[in-house]
Symmetry: C2
Subunit: 275 residues, 2 copies
Amino acid sequence: MKRSNRIVALTDYFIENPREQIQLPYFTKIYQASKSSISEDLDIIDYMFKHEGLGYLQRSAGAAGGVKYIPYNSKEKSIRYITELCHKLEDTSRILPGGYLYMSDILGDPKQVRQIGRILASAFSHLDIDVVVTVATKGIPLAYAVASFLGVPVVIVRRDPKVTEGSSVSINYVSGSSRKIQTMVLPKRSLQEGSNVCIIDDFMKAGGTITGMKSLLEEFNANVKAIGVLAEADDEEDERVVREYTSLVKITNVDMMQNYIEVHPGNFESNCSKK
Amino acid sequence: MKRSNRIVALTDYFIENPREQIQLPYFTKIYQASKSSISEDLDIIDYMFKHEGLGYLQRSAGAAGGVKYIPYNSKEKSIRYITELCHKLEDTSRILPGGYLYMSDILGDPKQVRQIGRILASAFSHLDIDVVVTVATKGIPLAYAVASFLGVPVVIVRRDPKVTEGSSVSINYVSGSSRKIQTMVLPKRSLQEGSNVCIIDDFMKAGGTITGMKSLLEEFNANVKAIGVLAEADDEEDERVVREYTSLVKITNVDMMQNYIEVHPGNFESNCSKK
């Protein structure tokens, strides 16, 4: 098989299997190529992934030698995307009752969701995450996108007790915005004790939902390593109960009466710089 | 830029942008290559996509000339995957009360979900789908996977009326398995009148939920072009109310007392042959 043909197959393999460790003999066997040919292929792919701001190949030495694709959105690409997103969201027809913003068109587009997931996954790339946790319903697609780039599974916390999955753990929590008592449930077998967890949601107001998830995760002795949201509401009235998180955009001003809305980049960029 | 470098970037571009029509001058400009060089690159990628059972490039003639990547899982690959899935599901520890099956590990794994989505999208590849519709909660990840390969958005029907998205249409329906009256809601602005729709869900028993979705979609004058589910339950007691659908696996026998379960391939293969 010619190099250019091999490169199509290898590129596809890496994109479909992020963060999976593969031994070189696997490729030499499938493509009937020498180890040095495959090694040169990997150099080319690694160079181009970096060049296109997609990530890089992590090589490991040793008898067989392994390789792993780490997706990583370059900071420039991420910030460009976030800036465009802010403009898109500053459309007054998006204003919904209660200070919410219509984002279902963006969250309903698999390509946009994948892009947002790629950016958040890049921010948490170094954190050794075992599992992504979200709460039904709107955060689910984003959680899967983040998880796919981190190469980990997703666990979905439910708000309804109608769980048909055997014994489960539930907690009551106070929703920050509505001050109502609500319930969250997670089946016992869905999460291993002591997992390193990344919480993902679409929107954070005062942070009550995320605080609820944190309490529920404590019951599983999970370590919440990261919290990522697409949008946060800059609600001065409520005191934010969650401090450590990464947001892509911040909705600072929603005025239904004046039909006015302001959207700024979230803390993603400043969080990136801290590292 | 060398051919092998260009091929990495082009392969990534196609995988990330399925079913998007791209004019060749777009590529010649970015990669500063002649139209004939890009055209040869595309021949190689098309050959390899077919060779690996991933799909093909659809070229169009004309002044500029365009190209589109159509993901298409080969039938052999799909059937191999379905057979493996059946074995995986025939694990008695998966049996849940009510004849349900624990599938959250599979539906929680983004890679498996993507694979299932690729298979269903291939089955509906010729149907000119505008949008994928699912109902909260468990079908959501699968709906996104199917939609990403069809290059269309996802619309999520909610079971709770707590929709903060402006005016909405709701219907009551009778759940086939529990015989209870339930509600489904869809915000008006989320679906265009007259859309070609593909309904996706994780599990179908008698089909009450899917029938409910069909009624709701009638209110939007949508054309339900396809229905795809991961698993169907072969429940002889209930008469199935949905006739036209594609399932990957069929759970034919769940016996909690005897701790026994049988899982067979669904109608995917016979549906494929009909075409």
